[in-house]
């Protein structure tokens, strides 16, 4: 009887996803700051890792995250054409389009997203985190797969 109670309780506990979000220093990290300055609220599900350019994000980091049981990964950078380093995000785009194919093979493609967010898109950042968190919530914890 007790055991049943416990397990049903466990199911009641809301699943709170753990998400890693890579931000580039110039656009999306500034956008995330702007979300804060504007007090746009979003779930406390993400941990931001700042890099200078989204071009620094190695596909290996995403695989490493999933390997470490992180439920979702976001890579964000400047809009195409706006990259502070001229063309860094174009390489990002290529790399992650290719990575998505691999993730599809692994059934992980819905747990990964690449988004462009400018320094003035605080609202968009907050909305992205909210919708992505909900998406991961629907998918459930990674180790349940």
């Amino acid at each position: 009887m007790k055991i049943v109670e416990k397990s049903s309780k466990k199911q009641d506990i809301e699943f709170k996803p753990n998400i890693v979000c890579f931000c580039c220093n110039w656009c999306s990290y500034a956008g995330a700051d702007l979300a804060g300055v504007s007090r746009f609220q979003y779930p406390a599900s993400i941990r931001i890792i700042r890099v200078m350019c989204s071009g620094r994000v190695e596909p290996a980091f995403i695989l490493k995250s999933f390997k470490d049981n992180i439920d979702g990964v976001l890579v964000t950078g400047c809009h195409i054409g706006d990259c502070h380093y001229i063309s860094g995000n174009e390489f990002t785009k290529d790399r992650f389009e290719r990575l998505t194919k691999i993730l599809k093979f692994l059934g992980l493609e819905d747990r990964f997203r690449l988004e462009w967010i400018s320094a003035s898109e605080g609202k968009k950042f907050a909305e992205l985190i909210t919708t992505f968190t909900n998406q991961i919530k629907k998918l459930g914890p990674l180790n349940n797969i």
Partner: protein, 1041 residues
């Protein structure tokens, strides 16, 4: 002849002094001083009170971003304190000025602190033992109490105590001296006497600020009641380090008020009490205070009594709308007759007239906050007398001309900030850079003559990478900004338990100068080799902490910053448990990275001492002239066939009524004739490559002529356009429905016959601006423009009937209120609201062309009248081509399409990308006076770079591990800066010598983006400070515990 000229020039230069006196240590004085030292001048910063910081230090938050005021100001205060070329003289006053432009002799009186500034450590032991307690705390607007030995506020600069000579027992009654006995540093010195100091400077900047007039207000405002306070007093109440530690309490019973009323224009714009001007900032800070109040207690009710709503800056109008829509703040369009106290409850009853229906009502509130007038600082008249400069009728300092508000009437003495007239913080900062530029234009021949290098007292620690990391972690409460939403003590306890974390501490504000001292002490005491601060964003504060680490002998790349405010507490205000967990994780991840941090070296690069100015309007012209005058080659690019920008379309300019063409001519002529200036008309920028100090720019002139230039800094002065209201009020079809700019062009015609048949003209303001959707902003300049045109038209044709339909009149700034009252004689002013727009219909065979139907609030019904010509005041908008430029320069645009500055408060004319600056309407719609001031500022910011011979590059670069490199060249292919080349090296393997290709990074050219590192198939490239191992460690640390 030429020889004698040369020698007279030389003697003039000989007499110039490369030092500057700045009077006033508020944000204006701070910014001007910092800019001046970067331009190569020594600064004496004289402040009357015991600490710099001024009014901004007293504010809780700043609009429209709700940024913590002290948090953004404190780094600048610390920078001043650290700067070896700023001589800080607090608690001092200028008492005598003689000499002339270029060489002034100044006498300064240093008041006795009775505490030796050099010995005091700021520990506070003296104050804790001082028996006198009844001194009112001036910094807290006399709401709190302090001891008679005190520090004005915890983050004060210099962080030194002083004795209030009026209150001290020993100084008044000859007994006590407890402080002297308790002070271990032996800093107390009762023998101190007032001291006179003499200095010589080349120029003087006056940057004294404002006071808040309250006690002299007429009785009807009710300031005498306990629960009626000024907005500045309320700022202190809201502040976490204020008298109630950030709890919103009223004074009579120290209980939380439920109903809070904010009264705007409480004394401003009142001709009877001698304050005819609008104080300019109240509409916005009241909206801010109401929002912050709601954030403190969502159940409180906030009412704002307003007359006009003057929200004219970037994101200002939207901010006031958010206050209403998102926070539920209620605005009353009203006039106050009086405020009286209910003696029993100490509540206040506000009698007011509702201007929407003309009815008189009462509202009961628990607390009333008055936006009282901001007036020139006490003693500014005395300062004016000492300096020999004039004050105007409002007792602000008088500017040289309407269009040169940065200069006083006396040569060599400049004005900036609120002492010249009401301004907000970003305008003040831009002005401060502007006066710095004015000084530099005057004193540039003696640049760098009196500077000294910073002496680093602690040599850089040698870090042995095999040594155990010893990490210090400082976690900031940021007042209540973090502390209220994240359980900081719990985070501290957790972080303490992590491996390699030697020490973890928390504090109220990490950015203050006393915190910098404690960071240095921590590093020394625990022999730390890594340091972490968890607080706000590295984008604004990383540099401050890095410098502190450097001063403690720690290489700045051994510092790591964690963002637990902007990206945690502020976005999880209702999720304290999850927010606290997130803060722990983020710091833990930083600890993981920190263990692997390595010291890095920086290299130096030469700077091209030439500038590029994009846009030949008034802003561009002023910026160009100022840079060229200081001896730098300046390239001015204009897309049209003539210089002058929008001024080419105007008739007479506001507020002086000069003909625009006559006003413009001398500037254009000077630019055309200056030998340092290259003008490119009919030209566009087609390519920009490079970075601060060295940009390669391609300018393409019509007919495909291509110019390649190399510049060190770029100023964007592209201006803005008037919106063409295609679909509004039948503009497209009706030739007598025109925009303001089209009216100006009509007025420019020599032949004014078109006016003969016109009997009546109606101006409609806010056409397609301040909307719910689309263009939501106030365009700032249309109101004054419309009134100017009304006055011009009335003069041209006195029997003309003029009607102006408006929503709110934007008449802030000195003199505009009177200008508005004068203009009222010339036109009929009618108000409309967004939900009831005026209707224009064409009349058939009537006497007039159009019938205008308007809902009149007082009559509660429609009124009708007729006009022949309708003028639509449409907003200024960002031109389409901004997009292209924004991409080329790698600088962002804001949501309205204007260029987005680096920081809305404290870096209003910088871009986040160093080396590119901004001025004029490209930033935001502004009038000529403001554009000129800002252009001066942008020129000053650029001169800082052009004047330096070389600059340090970042240590965040890529490095190739030669042994791993297979010479495939993929890294070189992706490098956007051509910073990687393949070189041939000889490798000897026993008997064989092979020539192999290896990649090599030129660290001076590398910008550290890291793309090459990802591209390398053999992991042969290390991206310093963001290495594979470091980032991997962060990922691993996330779910480890």
């Amino acid at each position: 002849m030429s020889k004698s000229k040369k020698s007279s020039q030389k003697s003039q230069t000989d007499d110039l002094v490369g030092a500057v006196l700045v009077i006033g240590g508020g944000i204006a004085g701070i910014q001007a001083s910092l800019d001046l030292t970067e331009m190569g001048f020594k600064v004496f910063l004289v402040e009357k009170t015991p600490s710099i910081g001024g009014r901004m230090a007293q504010l809780d938050k700043t609009f429209p971003t709700n940024d913590c005021s002290l948090c953004i100001l404190a780094p600048k205060m610390v920078e001043v304190f650290r700067n070896p070329n700023i001589e800080l003289m607090t608690y001092s006053e200028v008492i005598e000025v003689s000499g002339h432009v270029g060489h002034f002799y100044i006498k300064i009186l240093k008041k006795p602190r009775y505490v030796d500034e050099d010995k005091c450590t700021g520990c506070g032991d003296c104050a804790s033992k001082c028996p006198k307690i009844e001194a009112p705390n001036i910094f807290d607007m006399n709401l709190g109490k302090r001891k008679s030995i005190y520090i004005p506020f915890p983050q004060a600069v210099p962080p030194v105590y002083l004795i209030d000579s009026d209150m001290c027992l020993f100084l008044n009654k000859g007994v006590c001296k407890v402080c002297e006995r308790i002070c271990e540093a032996q800093a107390i010195n009762f023998e101190q006497k007032p001291e006179e100091v003499q200095i010589e400077v080349g120029a003087i900047i006056v940057a004294i600020g404002f006071d808040m007039l309250a006690s002299k207000l007429p009785d009807n405002w009710g300031y005498k009641y306990e629960n009626v306070i000024t907005s500045l007093e309320y700022e202190r109440i809201l502040c976490a380090s204020g008298p109630f530690e950030g709890h919103v309490l009223r004074l009579s019973d120290e209980k939380e008020p439920q109903k809070i009323a904010f009264i705007q224009c409480a004394g401003s714009r009142d001709f009877h009490i001698g304050i005819p001007y609008c104080s300019s900032v109240c509409c916005m800070y009241i909206a801010k205070e109401a929002i912050i109040t709601k954030e403190h207690s969502n159940s409180s009710e906030c009412y704002i009594f307003r007359h006009d709503l003057r929200a004219y800056g970037k994101n200002f109008y939207e901010y006031t709308q958010r206050a209403q829509d998102e926070y539920g703040v209620k605005y009353f369009n009203s006039k106050i007759s009086k405020i009286v106290e209910d003696p029993e409850t100490k509540d206040l009853i506000i009698h007011y007239e509702d201007l929407n229906d003309g009815k008189f009502n009462d509202l009961r509130a628990n607390l009333v906050i008055l936006a009282t007038p901001l007036v020139p600082s006490e003693g500014s008249e005395k300062v004016a007398k000492i300096l020999g400069i004039n004050i105007d009728k409002y007792k602000f300092f008088k500017e040289k001309t309407l269009y040169d508000k940065l200069s006083s009437e006396r040569e060599g003495i400049f004005l900036c900030g609120f002492c010249q007239g009401p301004l907000d913080i970003p305008e003040t900062v831009a002005d401060a850079s502007g006066v710095a530029n004015k000084v530099s234009t005057l004193l540039y021949p003696v640049r760098n003559t009196l500077l000294k290098e910073k002496i680093v007292s602690v040599p850089e620690k040698k870090i042995n990478l095999e040594d155990e990391p010893c990490i210090g972690v400082l976690i900031c409460h940021c007042g209540i900004n973090i502390g209220k939403y994240v359980d900081v003590p719990q985070v501290v306890e957790y972080i303490k338990t992590l491996p390699n974390v030697t020490v973890t501490v928390d504090n109220l504000y990490s950015c203050s100068s006393d915190s910098q001292t404690s960071i240095k002490e921590l590093i020394a005491e625990y022999d730390l080799n890594r340091f972490i601060v968890a607080s706000c964003t590295p984008r604004t504060h990383e540099k401050l902490f890095q410098e502190t680490c450097e001063e403690a002998g720690l290489n700045k790349y051994l510092f790591e910053m964690v963002n637990i405010r902007d990206q945690c507490s502020w976005v999880h205000m209702e999720q304290k448990v999850d927010g606290t967990k997130k803060a722990k994780d983020l710091i833990e991840m930083a600890v993981a990275k920190s263990r692997l941090l390595k010291p890095q070296k920086e290299s130096k690069l030469p700077i091209t001492p030439e500038a590029l100015i994009i846009g030949g309007g008034i802003s561009g012209l002023i910026a160009t002239l100022n840079i060229a005058k200081q001896g730098f080659t300046t390239h001015l690019v204009e897309k049209e066939s003539q210089l002058g920008g929008n001024l080419n379309n105007l008739y007479q300019i506001f507020p002086g009524y000069q003909k625009a063409s006559e006003f413009l001519e001398p500037f254009v002529n000077k630019v055309k004739s200056h030998s340092n200036i290259n003008i490119y008309l009919n030209s566009n920028i087609t390519e920009i490559r490079g970075y601060i100090g060295n940009y390669d720019v391609i300018i393409t002139t019509k007919g495909n002529k291509v110019n390649n230039i190399k510049v060190g800094a770029i100023i964007v002065a592209t201006g803005a356009n008037e919106l063409i209201p295609e679909t509004i009020y039948n503009y497209k079809k009706e030739k007598n429905v025109i925009t303001q700019l089209e009216l100006e062009q009509k007025l420019r015609k020599e032949n004014l016959e078109w006016l003969d048949n016109i009997k009546s003209i109606t101006f409609i303001l806010c056409v397609n601006s301040r909307q719910k959707e689309g263009i939501t902003y106030c365009s700032n300049i249309c109101c004054t423009n419309a009134l100017k045109n009304i006055n011009i038209l009335k003069k041209l044709k006195p029997d003309l009937a003029l009607i102006l339909i408006y929503r709110d009149l934007q008449m802030s700034k000195k003199g505009n209120e009177e200008f508005y009252r004068d203009s009222r004689k010339n036109a009929l002013f009618l108000r409309y609201s967004l939900d009831k727009l005026p209707i224009i219909s064409k009349t058939k065979n009537g006497k007039f062309n159009y019938k205008i139907t308007l809902f009149e609030h007082n009559l509660k019904g429609d009124i009708e009248f007729y006009s022949d010509l309708i003028i639509l005041a449409t907003p200024m908008i960002a031109p389409e081509n901004f997009k292209e430029l924004s991409k080329m320069l790698k600088v962002p645009q804001d949501q309205s399409g204007f260029f987005l500055e680096a920081h809305v408060k404290l870096r209003p004319i910088d871009f986040a990308t160093d080396g590119v600056f901004l001025c004029g309407c490209a930033h935001w719609p502004k009038n000529i006076q403001e554009s000129i001031a800002q252009a001066n500022g942008a020129a000053g910011r650029a001169i800082r770079i052009l004047g330096a011979k070389e600059m340090k590059t970042s240590g965040l670069v890529a490095e190739v591990i030669e042994d791993y490199c297979i010479g495939c060249g993929k890294c070189a292919d992706v490098c956007p800066y051509n910073a990687i080349e393949l070189i041939e090296v000889e490798k000897t393997f026993e008997d064989y010598t092979l020539r192999l290709k290896k990649s090599k990074v030129n660290s001076a050219l590398c910008k550290g983006c890291g793309t090459c590192g990802v591209q390398c198939p053999n992991s042969a490239i290390i991206i310093k400070h963001f290495s594979f191992k470091q980032i991997n460690a962060m990922i691993e640390a996330y779910l480890k515990n």
